[in-house]
């Protein structure tokens, strides 16, 4: 699913965020990305859906060669990837339904399929009865569910979650994790950046640790490994 070879990224201001990353992630895996703030996690994630472009090396995601692909193909790549953020990134003036439908309108689905699919994913995340609410009327956990629903609406092969539980209390975090596990069980590859030692140590999965722009540990069924 993802192949990185000697990937380096230096920002225009001279900060080098990644200094030669080699990694291979297979389809269907669930991977935790751990490391302190500023270690390079965010850059790693941004490179995968091409919000940033690597300075050197090679990155292949699905069948796209990210360093050689045409600018016009970027939207196609992003349709294969769902992204979930710590701050949800929902549109405040739109209803829950519209926020999710948005992702399907962009790929020019038929209105009938959009209606059907939106209700389907809202049901999957347990928010079918809140479709007409606006994000401000929901709790943090519910808002994160909406953003997950939006991310999976388009049947992505890969789901990237950037600290999805960062703003949530422990109980709600476990609910979100349960949801992500279900999505993974259905076949979607998941890469999740997190600072939660508890989650990583409880739900054992592959752990990739980044430090100083390098992968310092890659462990199946690993631990968080940092003292917090």
């Amino acid at each position: 699913m993802i192949e990185m070879k000697d990937v380096k990224k230096t920002y225009p201001n001279g900060v080098s965020a990644l200094n030669g990353v080699d990694i291979s992630i297979d389809a269907g895996e669930f991977v935790y990305l751990v490391g302190q703030s500023g270690a390079g996690k965010s850059t790693f994630i941004k490179l995968i859906f091409r919000e940033e472009i690597a300075s050197s090396g090679s990155i292949k995601v699905d069948n796209f060669d990210l360093l050689k692909m045409k600018w016009k193909e970027v939207p196609l790549l992003r349709r294969d990837i769902g992204v979930v953020y710590q701050d949800f990134k929902l549109l405040p003036k739109m209803t829950v339904y519209e926020n999710v439908a948005f992702a399907l309108e962009v790929v020019e689905e038929t209105p009938r399929n959009i209606r059907k699919r939106v209700m389907e994913v809202l049901d999957q995340v347990g928010l079918k009865n809140k479709a007409r609410f606006i994000p401000d009327e929901l709790s943090g956990g519910e808002q994160q569910r909406v953003s997950i629903a939006r991310a999976i609406a388009n049947y992505p092969k890969l789901l990237i979650a950037d600290e999805p539980t960062g703003n949530l209390d422990p109980d709600t975090s476990w609910e979100i994790m349960k949801l992500l596990e279900e999505i993974n069980a259905a076949g979607t590859t998941i890469i999740m950046a997190t600072h939660s030692k508890e989650i990583v140590n409880t739900i054992k999965r592959r752990v990739i640790a980044i430090e100083g722009g390098l992968i310092v540990r890659d462990q199946h069924r690993g631990d968080y490994g940092y003292e917090t």
Binding site: E51, K72, L77, R78, K89, F102, E105, V106, E108, R150
Partner: protein
């Protein structure tokens, strides 16, 4: 349905979606819409007034220029053959449109009919010269042609209202250039104003654009609703200016004759001038709306 029909149906749906979104956005950002429409309206009123003024001034100037002609007075001593030869020579000058011969008797008649019977006393002993009336293809060449003719044989004098013509041409030239510069300056100010106003509405929506890009929207998919919105702003903004233009020009057209009875200044006829100008104003409005909108969304597309 065939494949092509499916694609067409999809495109049509997408176009509908862009229009719906564009309208919805204008409605959601109603204060900014009002501000932008206000900016377009103000500018277009100025532009329309100015264009109407300029085009009429141009019309009057052209009319005056068309009236410019060279009167060549033939030497009193010239024989009939010499006069005919002169006429042929005049016709051969470059850029001369027409040469009309007017005999001394015709000249006197013209004088009598315009100045009164007093001049009739000269009928027995006509003091006037035979004359040629020469018109240039382009009125601006008149002076040059007149100077050339002055050197011909059998020409007593060349008359073309020397100072008046020169001043008229110079005035018209200045008026046209200054008008053009002012109109361009106005249009650019308007585009700047509008693109700034729309930029503010887009700033508020950069999050929306960012998310659209993240879920895989193409740049044109994002741009179209803004295009529609800009078009709407431009068209809405041109309604009032066009209404003012039509009613204002109608009023002017109805009243100018009574004021202007003895003058030979005439304004461009209401029909079709007002309709043409209205269309131009609408087009300018639509262009600055679309241009301002598409320009301001551009820099947010680079994610």
């Amino acid at each position: 349905m065939t494949n092509i029909e499916v694609i067409m149906a999809m495109k049509l749906r997408t176009v509908k979606r862009h229009f719906r979104e564009g309208l919805k956005n204008s409605w959601r950002n109603s204060w900014m819409t009002i501000a932008s429409v206000g900016a377009v309206t103000t500018t277009l009123i100025l532009v329309a007034t100015f264009l109407a003024l300029m085009m009429n001034l141009n019309h009057v100037a052209s009319n005056l220029e068309e009236d410019v002609e060279v009167k060549v007075l033939v030497d009193l001593t010239a024989t009939e053959e010499e006069t005919i030869e002169l006429g042929e020579n005049l016709a051969e000058i470059d850029n001369v449109e027409s040469v009309v011969f007017s005999s001394r008797d015709e000249e006197l008649q013209a004088l009598v009919s315009s100045m009164g019977d007093i001049w009739g006393a000269y009928e027995d002993d006509n003091p006037l010269n035979d004359a040629f009336i020469v018109r240039a293809t382009d009125p601006h060449d008149t002076i040059e042609i007149a100077e050339e003719i002055a050197d011909f044989n059998q020409v007593e004098r060349v008359n073309y209202g020397q100072d008046v013509v020169q001043n008229l041409f110079r005035f018209n030239q200045y008026a046209r250039n200054i008008g053009l510069v002012l109109i361009l300056a106005l249009v650019f100010t308007a585009i700047f104003l509008i693109s700034n106003t729309i930029k503010i509405t887009i700033m508020a929506r950069r999050k929306e654009i960012e998310i659209m890009k993240l879920v895989g929207a193409t740049n044109w998919f994002i741009r179209w609703p803004f295009f529609v919105e800009g078009l709407l702003l431009g068209v809405l903004g041109s309604i009032l200016p066009i209404a003012l233009l039509i009613s204002g020009y109608y009023f002017l057209d109805q009243n100018i004759e009574s004021v202007n009875q003895f003058s030979f200044i005439e304004i461009l006829p209401f029909n079709p001038f007002v309709w043409q100008l209205s269309f131009l104003v609408l087009a300018i409005g639509a262009c600055i709306g679309v241009w301002g909108s598409v320009m301001s969304v551009r820099k947010f597309l680079k994610v």
